[in-house]
Amino acid sequence: MPSTIRVRAQASGTSTDVQALIQHPMDSGFVKDSDGKLIPAHHIETVTFDYKGKIVLTANWGPAVSKDPYIKFAFAGGAKGDDLTVTWVDNLGKTDTLTAKIT
C-alpha cells in the first residue's frame, strides 16, 4: 500500500517550509450517495508534525476540510537530511504515519 501522505519539507536556513497532502475522503456526513443514502462522516480529526520529538504543529480538523486535504506551514529550525514525521488519525480510528527527509 502506498502511503496516504505526501510531504515536501524544505529547509531555508532559519526555518523549514512544510507542505503536505493526505489522501482521505473527508466525508462530511451531510452528503448523500447516488441512492439517496447519507454517506457517514469519515474525516481526519488530528494531524501532527513531529520534528526531533517535538510536535511543531497539531492540526484539528472538522468535516469542512476538503477531500485529500492540504496543509502548508513553516517551523523554526530544521536542517537538510533531518526527519519530519507526519501522523493523522481519523474519526473511525484509522491512522497513517510517514517520516520524510527535509530537503
Binding site: 462530511s28 504543529l57 468535516p63 492540504y70 506551514f73 523554526a76
Partner: protein, 157 residues
C-alpha cells in the same frame, strides 16, 4: 446539505450530550474513536461564538494584524484555498471558521513555539459565507473576516 442536518444531527448531539452527562463519553469511544485531544464539542457548534467559547473560553476582537487570504469568488466550494497569517508575536493557535457551514469551526491549529504564525489549507464551503481567521496571541484572540462567494456549493460532492 442543510436539510440533512436537522433530525440526524440533533439526535446525535443530544445523545452525545447525554453520554457526556452520564460520564460515559469514554465508553462511547468504541463506536466513535475520536482522536485524543480533538475538541469534538467545539467542532459541533453552529455559531463561531459558541465554537470559540468551547475552544478558547473567550471571544475575539478584530485586528489588522491578522491577514486572511481567501478568493472573492470560490471556483468551487469543495476546494477553497484559505490562508491565515499574523504579525502578532507569540502566536499559539490559529483557527478558521465558516459561519454558514453546518458547523462553524472548520480547522484549528496549535503551534509550537517558533512555528511561524501562518497556515494554508483548503476548505469546503456549503454556500456564500464569511470566513473568519482567528489568531491566539498572548492569551488573547484576534480575528479577520472576509466574504467568499460560492456559486457551486462544496457539499454536493
Amino acid at each position: 446539505m442543510h436539510a440533512a442536518l436537522s433530525s440526524n444531527e440533533t439526535t446525535r448531539r443530544a445523545t452525545l450530550r447525554l453520554l457526556a452527562l452520564l460520564g460515559v463519553a469514554g465508553l462511547a469511544g468504541t463506536a466513535r474513536a475520536d482522536a485524543p485531544g480533538w475538541p469534538e464539542q467545539a467542532f459541533h457548534q453552529k455559531t463561531p461564538d459558541e465554537a470559540l467559547k468551547l475552544l478558547y473560553g473567550k471571544s475575539f476582537e478584530m485586528s489588522d494584524k491578522v491577514t486572511l487570504d481567501v478568493p472573492e469568488i470560490a471556483e468551487n466550494g469543495a476546494v477553497v484555498p484559505v490562508s491565515v497569517s499574523s504579525s502578532l508575536p507569540g502566536v499559539t493557535s490559529i483557527s478558521i471558521l465558516v459561519p454558514e457551514n453546518p458547523f462553524a469551526l472548520a480547522a484549528s491549529y496549535k503551534f509550537a513555539e517558533g512555528t511561524a504564525a501562518s497556515i494554508g489549507c483548503r476548505l469546503k464551503m456549503a454556500k456564500t459565507s464569511k470566513v473568519i481567521g482567528i489568531v491566539e496571541s498572548g492569551g488573547k484572540l484576534y480575528g479577520a473576516s472576509k466574504e467568499v462567494k460560492v456559486t457551486l456549493g462544496g457539499c454536493g460532492g
